[in-house]
């Protein structure tokens, strides 16, 4: 089945399609993420190569968002794909989609790396200035061109950007920096209870917003 999908992918021309449920637009007949994961579980290097081509940009962006260092991010990206290869047998489709599993793994490794490395202090300083200048860190890269793009990223960011900046900031610090509620409270000079409320409300709005997006598309 996977081999047939590979052949079809080579034969058919590219077509532009945009769907929420399939982040990078696959060529018709291209193997699904799940097919690639099954092939990786059977030790097929070609499947890892395809998965890498499909998701290295997303995972690198996530790692960079955590550790803010290009060279370290590249090294970590390589380690993470090696871990995907080594740990593929632990992936279960019943527990979620391959991308979700890879992102969880990449985030954990990136946050571990951040905590271990001496670069932590430098990244902290950079984060401090970012936080002061732009509490809603998700928004700071938006351009006219991006706003015009009606793709998955734009739709998700629309949901996130709909949150009050303080909620965005709390979620950003928790997800991308791995901070606890207490650490966020200390960092932002905010009472612990307020941080908890911001996280709960913000995550619920994003969760509900994503559900609506899936229903619409």
């Amino acid at each position: 089945m996977y081999r047939r999908a590979k052949k079809q992918a080579r034969r058919k021309p590219k077509r532009e399609t945009r769907r929420f449920s399939a982040p990078p637009q696959l060529e018709p007949g291209a193997p699904t993420d799940l097919q690639l994961m099954h092939a990786i579980q059977s030790q097929d290097p070609e499947a890892l190569s395809q998965l890498y081509d499909r998701y290295n940009g997303i995972l690198k962006a996530l790692i960079l968002r955590v550790i803010h260092n290009e060279a370290e991010a590249d090294d970590l990206l390589q380690e993470i794909f090696m871990e995907i290869w080594n740990q593929a047998r632990n992936f279960s489709a019943q527990k979620g989609k391959p991308l979700g599993w890879m992102v969880t793994l990449a985030r954990r490794r990136a946050i571990d790396g951040l905590r271990k490395k001496q670069a932590y202090a430098r990244a902290e300083q950079r984060l401090q200035s970012e936080t002061e200048q732009q509490p809603d860190a998700w928004v700071h890269n938006a351009t006219e061109e991006e706003i015009a793009l009606s793709d998955t990223r734009f739709l998700i960011r629309k949901v996130i950007n709909g949150l009050p900046p303080a909620q965005q900031q709390a979620i950003d610090l928790a997800f991308f920096r791995g901070m606890s509620q207490r650490e966020i409270a200390a960092k932002t000079n905010t009472p612990l209870g307020t941080v908890k409320t911001r996280l709960e409300l913000g995550l619920k709005k994003i969760y509900d917003g994503l559900k609506e997006l899936k229903d619409e598309l």
Binding site: P23, A174, L199, Y207
Partner: protein, 78 residues
């Protein structure tokens, strides 16, 4: 803890933002709600995917893939 509270806690749990003292109570509720709780937690992991997809993809160095694939092939041979 009712199920709505459990749902709120689950979203914090999946991003690792529950405080240690909250985790014990969360785990008790998780047992109490059984499969329904597990299904909801699984759904919450979609948040991870969404946060990653909210970022602009970054370009990795071309050498990374070459190194990765040669490591994988070496390991497969040995």
């Amino acid at each position: 803890m009712n199920f709505e509270q459990f749902q709120n806690q689950s979203r914090l749990y999946v991003i690792g933002a529950l405080e240690p003292e909250e985790v014990e109570e969360f785990e008790k509720a998780r047992k109490k709600f059984g499969q329904k709780a597990e299904d909801f937690i699984t759904k919450c992991y979609a948040l991870h995917e969404a946060f990653a997809l909210s970022l602009r993809p970054a370009k990795a160095s071309a050498a990374i893939k070459d190194r990765l694939m040669s490591m994988v092939r070496e390991r497969k041979v040995s």
